[in-house]
Amino acid sequence: MDSIGDECTPLKHEYDACFNKWYSEKFLNGDSTNECLAVFKKYQACVKKVLQDKGLTKMITDARPAIGSTFGDDQEAK
């Protein structure tokens, strides 16, 4: 599946592949080291710009309380 922003698609694919492998092989087995963090940060930075350009950032911020999301706009990934 491609990213909303074409320029982010290669990073998204890299992250998705990393996540699927990590989730099934490490995370579900109790390993709490986030191995995909570095690639996620790059992918996240790319998407963040696209969301700003599309004017979606405020809508996301406003919707967070309704779904119990603990994230903020400029939260660093961990």
């Binding site: 109790g30 779904i67 939260q75």
Partner: protein, 172 residues
């Protein structure tokens, strides 16, 4: 306001279903889901809980009249999830971002092992649909339309997840 609730048991263990949940898009059953973007993630190293925030872009195939009424056919949904690998629980909540002035659709999902059979997974889904603003006049009809659309998509979504679980098991 309308409430939609459904429970389903997947005949796969929770590990398989929870992974299939993350991998279920794209699939040919849900062509309306065009993009799924992870916008935030956080792994709590103390509790082991994974938090994820995703933005989903949906392009519905809707009649021209509805498209004109709503001002488009592209909508966005924000989804927040928590996965507790120790308790084997995945919870998801979502809310529409677009057309919120006309309609609010909130969804809550839980995946957990079936207490009667740990090799199976219980899926509990509930959604709340509420017409707002200009739609309030037609609330009951709009809400009924949306709940029916939601039911169709929910059953298709379950098929998509089942298909993904089967694909994963065949590849394993």
């Amino acid at each position: 306001m309308r409430l939609f609730e459904a429970t389903h048991v997947f005949k796969h263990d929770w590990d398989t279903v929870s992974l299939a949940n993350w991998r279920k898009y794209p699939n040919d059953k849900t062509p309306h889901v065009r993009h799924v973007e992870v916008i935030n993630q956080e792994l709590d190293e103390t509790t082991g809980i994974l938090r994820m925030e995703r933005l989903i872009m949906v392009k519905q195939n809707v009649p021209t009249l509805i498209r004109k009424l709503f001002g488009g056919d592209v909508s966005y949904v924000l989804e927040y999830s928590e996965v507790d690998p120790k308790q084997r629980t995945l919870t998801m909540q979502s809310q529409n971002l677009t057309f919120g002035n006309l309609l609010s659709v909130g969804e809550h999902i839980v995946y957990k092992p079936d207490p009667e059979n740990v090799k199976h997974t219980v899926f509990v889904q509930s959604a709340q649909v509420k017409a707002a603003g200009a739609m309030s006049r037609f609330a009951s009809r709009v809400e009924d339309f949306c709940v029916n659309r939601f039911k169709d998509n929910a059953s298709i979504g379950r098929m998509g997840l089942e298909q993904q679980a089967q694909t994963m098991l065949l590849a394993a």
